[in-house]
């Protein structure tokens, strides 16, 4: 195992300034677009979709994730890194060197943007897991990557992994999304799938790493709304070993997807039905087989049901899925033009990108809207085997999430 759990334990968790023992409240605007043919779309699409939803945020967070943006390094894991200073970069690079062959390391291309003056140092790395070390253990490449993320987030003061998937990257920070995009020169990237987020938090996140989307490996999550069941959702996850230290709904949603899709191997459609369960009266009207399935699903995953208003977009290399709460308390509009599927909080965001789509519709509450990129693999988690606590630790890098032993539930 190439990471040092004692070092993680000794780490001061307060570095992660968004870490919170409390529920963090907020509203938002969001977008997701996917060309199911795999063709690439310029980043200006994502920018326009969120810029027109400017008033849904308050300038305290914006971010994007793009998939297919690094075709020349398609098989490399790409780390987008945030550093407080050069020392942090050197320390993190030392860790990266222990895990990976670094084929390219460079500062993220940025440009000066008025109003953004607190950006960390932003670097990106194209990495191949060190073959000797990888093959010495019984870990998959994905496990190996998560361990590296965990070690950096947990032990390297001032360093944070903003994204760590293949052929994708997260671009996020504190500001309005169009400012953040401008800063990152997002229009210079092309992706088959974009997700984006415009944040309206009621607290004051001080740190770029805390902006959304929430990412790990390939997956990224953006979320609008406020989950009133956060208390039991987080306790439910904790029983499986996840540690919900960020206090955000997005973190909880990410772990619930991990639990249901990766660990319990539920199909995506059913995971969505568990997160936004049909009402009992609807279940009672279903055909018998479906009733039995949905009744079990709801009774078993009841503590994981996201109750309260939400709209969520989960992005990954094979596509994206958008989902609403079960009585549609948050807006979500979908549209299709040819092979391109788009979702957003408002129709205007869609029309800012595609003025005359083939079709615009309002997805039904609790019914997932799914885009699949043809020729790309599902499931979305790759060859990952790590425990929930290791995942939580990788995401937050805090003592609380790394130190405790976890209970393995098969």
């Amino acid at each position: 195992m190439p990471y040092d759990i004692d070092a993680v334990r000794d780490f001061d968790p307060r570095r992660f300034r968004e870490e919170s023992p409390f529920k963090i409240h907020g509203g938002c605007g969001l977008m997701g677009i996917c060309d199911e043919s795999g063709s690439l779309m310029g980043g200006e699409i994502a920018i326009r979709a969120l810029a027109i939803q400017h008033d849904r945020g308050n300038g305290l967070g914006g971010g994007f994730a793009g998939y297919g943006i690094y075709p020349e390094f398609a098989d490399h894991f790409c780390f987008h890194m945030m550093y407080a200073d050069t020392a942090a970069r050197q320390n993190a690079e030392e860790v990266l060197g222990r895990f990976f062959a670094v084929d390219l390391a460079e500062p993220m291309p940025t440009r000066a943007v008025k109003g953004i003056d607190d950006a960390p140092l932003l670097w990106r790395y194209f990495l191949r897991p060190d073959a000797d070390k990888l093959h010495a253990g019984d870990e998959s490449a994905e496990d190996f990557v998560v361990h590296a993320v965990m070690l950096i987030n947990g032990t390297v003061d001032g360093a944070f992994v903003a994204s760590s998937g293949k052929n994708m990257g997260a671009f996020k920070g504190v500001g309005y999304p169009e400012e953040i995009a401008h800063y990152y020169r997002l229009e210079e990237y092309s992706a088959h799938t974009w997700v984006g987020h415009n944040r309206f938090p009621t607290n004051t996140p001080g740190w770029w790493g805390g902006a959304h989307p929430f990412t790990l490996l390939d997956w990224s999550i953006v979320h609008n709304g406020e989950i009133s069941s956060y208390g039991i959702n987080s306790r439910y996850l904790e029983a499986f070993g996840y540690k919900c230290t960020l206090g955000t709904d997005t973190e909880v949603a990410a772990y619930l997807f991990d639990l249901m899709l990766r660990r319990h191997k539920l199909p995506l459609e059913l995971a969505c039905k568990a997160l936004a369960s049909p009402l009992w009266t609807e279940i009672d009207r279903m055909p018998e087989d479906e009733q039995a399935l949905l009744r079990s699903l709801r009774a078993v995953y009841g503590p994981g049901m996201l109750n309260g208003p939400f709209a969520i977009v989960l992005g990954f290399n094979g596509g994206m899925v958008a989902l609403n709460d079960r009585i549609k308390l948050r807006p979500l509009v979908a549209a299709r033009t040819g092979s391109v599927l788009m979702v957003a909080s408002e129709e205007s965001a869609i029309r800012a990108v595609m003025p005359e789509p083939d079709r615009v519709w309002m997805p039904k509450a609790g019914e997932p809207t799914i885009a699949r990129v043809s020729g790309m693999d599902w499931p979305i988690h790759g060859d990952l085997h790590l425990s929930p606590s290791a995942l939580s630790c990788a995401v937050t890098g805090t003592e609380f999430s790394c130190a405790e032993e976890t209970v393995e539930v098969s």
Binding site: D35, S39, M41, G42, E44, I45, I47, R48, L50, A51, I52, Q53, H54, D55, E178, A181, H182, E187, L279, T281, E282, R285, I327, K328, P331, V333, T337, G338, V340, E346, E347, S348, A349, R351, A352, V353, M354, P355, E356, P357, R359, V360, W361, M362, K364, A365
Partner: protein
């Protein structure tokens, strides 16, 4: 994608600048393209102050609050594009006609006037609406006509030509709510569950039948009588005229009438201490 994307939309969202206005007779035409709602709505109010009776808004896309709070019976607004949230909120008299879809919250707490949408409308349409007409051509979202009410001479009417999702007519306290189920891209039944839940006034007409699971426990379901149809027909005539639809076709299917079974559905719920 590149070919369908509109290259003229700026990447910074709306611009906070005054929109170009062209005046011809009593009509002012405003190009709303990329204009922030505040400047846009200011231009509309200014046009009326300058004596215009009709304002045409071109290239609207998501600007909020169009027609918000405007009083004046003979004023008109024509919206070309997608109308943003809270259109015609608190509106008192004017006619707003949308050539496109409308987003969420149209006619919120509207007092008087007419809203015609030649497309779909989103969630929470007509919340607390107290008077006037709302004519939607296509589908509507969740919680439509929620807490519509009537007060003395003010009796609102809303006709939705497509299908509706759950909570249609929730808490309805007065006025008339009509659902036709004709111009729809929704799959499934013409209305979701909780139809008229909490209804304690007014009337809902549905073109076709509703099943027991669809209705809230506070409503009674009846076949519309000849008397009911006499009440409904003038509203449908107005609707068909506004939407260019054939009245005979609309009337070719029997209507179902839903009315509250009690004006105080929760009278027995409480025990006074």
């Amino acid at each position: 994608m590149k070919q369908v994307m509109d290259p003229t939309v700026p990447q910074v969202g709306y611009l906070k600048i005054e929109p170009p206005v062209a005046r011809e007779g009593d009509t002012a035409t405003i190009d709303a393209k990329n204009i922030y709602y505040r400047q846009l709505n200011e231009a509309v109010r200014r046009a009326y102050a300058d004596g215009a009776k009709k304002v045409v808004l071109e290239n609207v896309n998501g600007q909020r609050y169009i027609g918000n709070g405007i009083t004046g019976k003979d004023l008109k607004i024509e919206v070309r594009g997608t109308a943003g949230n809270d259109m015609a909120m608190f509106m008192n008299g004017p006619t707003v006609e949308v050539f496109g879809n409308a987003q969420d919250g149209v006619s919120n707490t509207m007092n008087a006037g007419t809203v015609i949408v030649h497309g779909d409308a989103g969630d929470v349409l007509g919340y607390g609406m107290r008077g006037g007409r709302v004519f939607i051509k296509g589908d509507v979202g969740y919680r439509v006509g929620i807490h519509m009410k009537a007060y003395e001479g003010l009796v609102p009417a809303m006709v939705c030509g497509g299908k509706a999702r759950d909570f249609f007519g929730e808490y309805m306290a007065g006025g008339m709510l009509v659902l036709l189920g004709m111009n729809s891209q929704f799959e499934g039944p013409l209305v979701g569950g909780y139809l008229g839940t909490g209804m304690h006034g007014g009337v809902i007409y549905v073109r076709g039948e509703v099943e027991p699971w669809q209705t809230g426990k506070e409503v009674g379901v009846f076949e519309a009588s000849a008397e009911d149809m006499a009440e409904l027909k003038p509203v449908l005539e107005e609707y068909c005229a506004a939407q260019g639809m054939d009245l005979a076709e609309v009337l070719s299917v029997p209507f179902t009438k839903l009315v509250p079974v009690s004006h105080r559905p929760y009278g027995k719920l409480y025990a006074y201490t």
